[in-house]
């Protein structure tokens, strides 16, 4: 049996949906941020699969940029989590509703 690129795409879909479930069902902000990283990884896997299958390196350049943006997002996101934790002493998304009123 040969591994075609459809296997990689299916695996990437599964990983993406697990990330979606993490964002929907977890209440710890840090775990939600990690789920977002998982979704970015699933998309990166798709990009690398197509790039290698078509012999075109543009997809891998894009993956490189996505990784840089993910690093920036993690740094700023975790800084926000620390800032909120200082005031509210929690990382529970159901307790963090600063914009509600």
């Amino acid at each position: 049996m040969e591994i075609t690129i459809n296997w990689y795409l299916s695996l990437s879909a599964i990983l993406f949906v697990i990330g979606v479930l993490g964002v929907l069902f977890r209440r710890n902000v840090i775990v939600i941020l990690m789920s977002i990283e998982l979704m970015l990884n699933a998309v990166n896997l798709t990009l690398v699969t197509f790039s290698q299958s078509l012999g075109d390196a543009a997809g891998q350049i894009l993956v490189f940029f996505v990784m840089a943006v993910a690093a920036a997002e993690a740094a700023v996101g975790l800084a926000i989590v620390i800032a909120i934790f200082r005031n509210k002493l929690t990382v529970d998304v159901t307790q963090i509703n600063l914009f509600r009123y």
């Binding site: 690129i5 840090i30 990283e37 990166n44 891998q60 800084a79 620390i82 934790f85």
Partner: protein, 169 residues
């Protein structure tokens, strides 16, 4: 054939790591499960002959981003949170939404079954994913985006420091 075996091992381990991240109660073990998934994705990049991206994946994701996550988790000294206790309706909606996303992705994948062109040879793929080829592109054709990404990282660093220093309300 070692390719299918490697793919199966990495794929199963990646899904197991992702599920472990989703299920485990403790954020530290969540992060460690995610690190396993990231390493397996790096292994999958290697099976695709994308050597440069595989190395960058381990360096940036497993090396930098996850260390940042673990550092913040341990800095905040978190107690375990109880399970999300939303009403059954919300939970059900969440499952419906996730199933919908999965169905859409699988429909897109299966519609590509007969349409995709034949993959290029292993030699061409290895050349495409090599550090030489990607570095040449990054410093010639994609030089401007590379500079912009550098500025973005600088801004993110300054923003993170400002956010963490200041006290809000």
């Amino acid at each position: 054939m070692i390719g299918p075996i490697l793919f199966s091992v990495f794929a199963v381990a990646a899904i197991a790591g992702a599920l472990g991240m989703l299920i485990s109660k403790n954020p530290v073990s969540s992060a460690l499960w995610l690190i396993m998934t990231l390493f397996c994705v790096a292994g999958l990049y290697l099976t695709l002959n994308a050597t440069f991206i595989a190395v960058v994946q381990v360096l940036v994701y497993a090396g930098a981003i996850m260390v940042l996550f673990l550092f913040v988790i341990m800095l905040l000294n978190l107690a375990e949170l109880p399970k999300l206790n939303a009403g059954d309706g919300k939970r059900f909606l969440g499952y419906v939404g996730a199933t919908g996303v999965f169905a859409a992705l699988m429909i897109a994948t299966s519609s590509a079954l007969g349409v995709l062109p034949e993959p290029v040879s292993v030699q061409v793929a290895a050349d495409t994913g090599s550090a030489v080829n990607l570095a040449t592109l990054l410093f010639t054709r994609y030089a401007l985006p590379l500079e912009v990404i550098g500025i973005l990282l600088l801004v993110a660093t300054i923003g993170a420091v400002m956010l963490a220093k200041r006290r809000f309300v």
